[in-house]
Amino acid sequence: MKRKNMWIAAVATPVMIAMLLLFVGSPTVKANNQPPTASAAVKIDNFVFGPQTLTVPVGTTVTWTNADDIPHTSVSTEGVFKSRVLDTDEKFSYTFTKAGTYPYYCTIHPKMTGKVVVQ
């Protein structure tokens, strides 16, 4: 009896600790009801948004960086977001909190278009 209990304890303790860790780990996200923080990047290079279509989960913060010698903007075609003018190496970030497709363009060079797909 004594032996058996000890054996159970030996097995159960690590399992309980593991379960406890799991329990502690996941609910912190669920408890605040916030999506996990994620980030993604769009590089503006040679008058092109790269990647031209970026697919990200809900809650992702997308950062555009202008690598050109010429200023650009990143402006939602549907008025969802609008960067200021980004000179060389300047950045703009926007966090997408709703699923959907977000087309955008450079208002200075409107041939430059891209979209963010939020799932």
Binding site: N46, F47, V48, D68, D69, I70, P71, T77, R84, V85, D87, T88, P103, Y104, Y105, T107, I108, H109, P110, K111, T113
Partner: protein, 346 residues
């Protein structure tokens, strides 16, 4: 130097010169790097002659005049393609001031500034103040309307204009129209004039005699040069339909930082060099971004455009001059034309 060049050009162009086309309504445009080369145009047939020869003859008849186009100064730009754009603008102004006759006025076809900053506009004003021609007409480039829908631009340079900065005026019998094709651009599109401006243009031209020479100027080319890079204006066809009945139409644009010319019927299209930095020829680079050339070459790819109006022929001669003449013309030889005029067709 001019005589020698003239002779060479005369020889080169003799074949083109002997078609006896009536000079009335002719349109001439010229690509020039230290020497002279004139393209004369009537009914879709390009003919050429030496610029200086014709000018000398007609100039005595009075009312002929010259104006200068400058473009794309991008004050505030400081990247390797030209770390000192203020200095090269100053060189352009010096070149204008060195002209034998003070031009009647200057037209700046936009991108005065790099980022629409007040300090950039201030610097531009300071340099332009030193120009021999005191009257300067402007149209905005997309760089001049970056932050405030062009409000500051309008306050400074477009006080007597309509809408986003369009206007017209008459000078010695020529009707000039400045158009804005950089406002309210749509995703995926090129330059745009918009309905309000098109309606205004139609009214502005209505009732004018078909013999009135017309000069249209705007920042982005009013003809499609390279759609992939947005080098064109989506609704320019509409605007050009209003000028079709006129005998002489000259269209002056900037934006692409290089000389391009095309003649269609009685309409001559011309783009000017930048005073700041060159851009690549269409499709020859991954993008239209600033082109870095060796420092000693820079002033050869920047420049100004003189336009001479000759009353007798009701014609305009467009002359592009680099800030620094090429070595060939400086040594007295006929220099190569700065831009190959390869797109002339009727």
């Amino acid at each position: 130097m001019p005589d020698k060049n003239e002779n060479l050009i005369d020889q080169n162009l003799q074949d083109l010169n002997n078609d006896g086309v009536d000079r009335r309504g002719f349109l001439k445009c010229m690509a020039w790097a230290g020497t002279g080369l004139v393209w004369t145009m009537s009914g879709g047939i390009p003919v050429s002659r030496a610029f200086a020869k014709g000018y000398g003859k007609d100039a005595a008849k009075g009312e002929d005049f010259t104006f200068v186009q400058i473009s794309d100064s991008h004050i505030g730009f400081n990247k390797p393609a030209n770390p000192d754009v203020t200095a090269t603008l100053q060189t352009a102004i010096n070149k204008i001031n060195a002209m034998p006759h003070t031009p009647d006025f200057i037209i700046h076809t936009g991108d005065l500034s790099q980022l629409s900053k007040p300090s950039e506009f201030d610097t531009l004003d300071q340099v332009l103040k030193g120009a021999s021609a005191k009257q300067i007409f402007f149209v905005p480039g997309e760089h001049d309307m970056l932050t405030d829908n062009g409000e500051q631009y309008l306050q400074r340079y477009g006080k007597d204009t309509k809408g986003t900065g369009w206007s017209s005026f008459d000078h010695k019998g020529v009707h000039f129209v400045g158009l804005v094709n950089v406002a309210n651009l749509k995703a995926g599109g090129m330059g745009s004039l918009g309905n309000e401006q098109l309606e205004w243009l139609e009214k502005d031209l209505k009732g004018r005699s078909a013999s009135t020479p017309i000069v249209l100027y705007a920042h982005i080319p009013l003809w499609t040069i390279y759609p992939d890079w947005g080098w064109g204006t989506d609704d320019s066809e509409q605007a050009l339909s209003y000028v079709k009945r006129f005998g002489s139409v000259t269209v002056l644009n900037g934006h692409i930082h290089q000389i391009m010319q095309k003649i269609e019927g009685k309409v001559s299209f011309h783009t000017a060099m930048s005073t700041a930095f060159p851009q690549p020829a269409p499709g020859t680079a991954p993008s239209a971004g600033p082109m870095k050339v060796p420092a000693d070459q820079l002033q050869k790819v920047l420049g100004i455009t003189d336009v001479n109006y000759l009353v007798s022929g009701r014609s305009l001669a467009v002359v592009d001059s680099p800030l620094e003449d090429s070595g060939a013309s400086a040594s007295g030889n006929a220099g190569e034309p700065l831009a190959v005029v390869d797109s002339i067709h009727g």
